[in-house]
Amino acid sequence: MADVQDTIRERAAALLSSGEVSAVIGWGAGRFDDVRFPLVVKRAEDAGKLVFDASCVQMTAKRLLEHTGEGKVALVARGCESRAVNRFIADHQLTRDQVYVIGVPCPGMVDPATGETLKRCAECQVRNPVVHDELVGDPVPEPKPYRFAEVDRVEAMSREERRAFFDEMYGKCIRCYACRNACPCCTCRECFVEQDKVGWQGKAFNVNEARYYGMIRAFHTGDRCIECGECERACPMGLPLMVIMHQQVRDIDKLFGPYEGGGLTDSGPDPLRTYKTDDIEEFM
């Protein structure tokens, strides 16, 4: 990946010094060798601070939305970031000409806590960028691993076991909202949890408030989720959030399919907001 990193630096410097872009979003190096962080480079002389290696665990695309409007912004995009770009375009958060995509085929990242492949990478369906203005590095194979193992496990539970599973999950939630802030589908200018005057979301910390938050967020993002897994990775308490998202992807596939998740194109489809007269209506 050293060659890829060198090319990213060269291209970032060129794009910034030519004025084609006002910023390049990638990763920088933390204090320790296995710590990388989302870095926004705005000057060509800082392009050397960009790194790319197996420790780039964060899905950085959300930063795009903070910098569009300052001129075209370049994003170093793997499969996951590229699907987020499509997501943003489909959700009218930006237009294609506002972003320059430096595509990077991704071999999968390493979880510094375990030394093994990061969970969100081990479940990844799209390692190669689905949209890019240029590609750095050679395309990688798409193994398309089975990603519903945890869904199968939870589906096989009895009602009581499932209740206990979700109670444990949301009993741990500290409502830091890292999942929401990291999510490329969560682009509401004002989130329902902050609509204090309406009071959807109570301020107290308990399992009911946490479960309510989690379920509303899941439904708000259900048919748009790009399965990047960044919510689950960002969660400081280790909540298995992707089990809910994967479940929805599979349900949508069964009910309205074929459907393989969001962000594969820049125009949806967003099945739960698309009406067809032959839609299944078994619950009516």
Binding site: G30, R31, V40, E66, Y177, K203, C235
Partner: protein, 340 residues
Amino acid sequence: MLLKKAKAGALLDAIAAKERLFVPADDRGTSRFVAYGAGVEPRFDLLNTKLPPKDLLFPATETLYRWSRDGADLAIDSAFAETDPFTVFGLRPCDMASVDRLDAVFLTKGYVDEFYQAKREAATFVVATCAHPGRACFCDSIAASPHEAPTADVLLEDAGEEWVVTPQTEKGASAVEAWKPYLEEGDAEPIKAACDLKVDMAAVPEKLKGMFDDPIWSDIGDQCLTCGTCTFVCPTCYCFNIDQDVREDEGKRFRCWDSCMFTDYTAMAGGHNPRASKESRVRQRFMHKLTYFNDRYDMNLCVGCGRCMRDCPAAVDISLIIDRIAASEPAQEKEAMAHA
């Protein structure tokens, strides 16, 4: 006096038979200070629990009063209650230093928070020193020491297979007196560890006073998600919100943890938000941690536990931020250069 680590279980059983006891333990894939009892395995090998011990003194949600209405009769009842004595066994020196900070906030400067005070006075803190500080630990260059905890009731100095037990307060002395059947006479050499990671805080609080408009804040803002993780895992972040739960004829008012990282933290009536940008919220957090608190309480609010660095989803590293501030030029020099 020595306490063999292998025999700690019997001592914990004895303490728990008398009063509530909290120990560091795994909790559903994370860790925190858990009420000791059946099925709880203390994890004295954990450097830091994922969640800090602050909720034992300052719960995440705490009811202040309740009200109810019966026709024209309105009743308002304080939710204040005395707290039965309890022991926290095995917290770390950084966590003890965090209790010192919470004490300063809730008990000094002319206002005593009775809810905090009741729990604080009921608590006995037993601190275990750190033989092997972690890579993100930097307590000894900011607030504490891996092998000391001057305000702990009892200090347990790690000596390998055993702890050297030293009571440091009256409360600690009576606790240790009761522990005698589980202690042994003898001497052991405590491990006096030091942190590898150091920060240089000497000039930081003063330098920050001239850095309100420094580019550092937009750089951190670019990196930060402004989620509340750092504030909730921080042992010293103490900001809270007061909210209410109102039903038709009854309700309660409670306080709950809040986070300066959240947009609604500073949302004002009329819709104005003085800290609408990420950069302004990030600035507030580090200004508070590294200079405002020093002005009011004459100590660093950060205790160097490393929790925020470890758990931040965007890998924001307070030690690197301190380094950058320490290396920056004082504002007046910058200004002088601009005029030169």
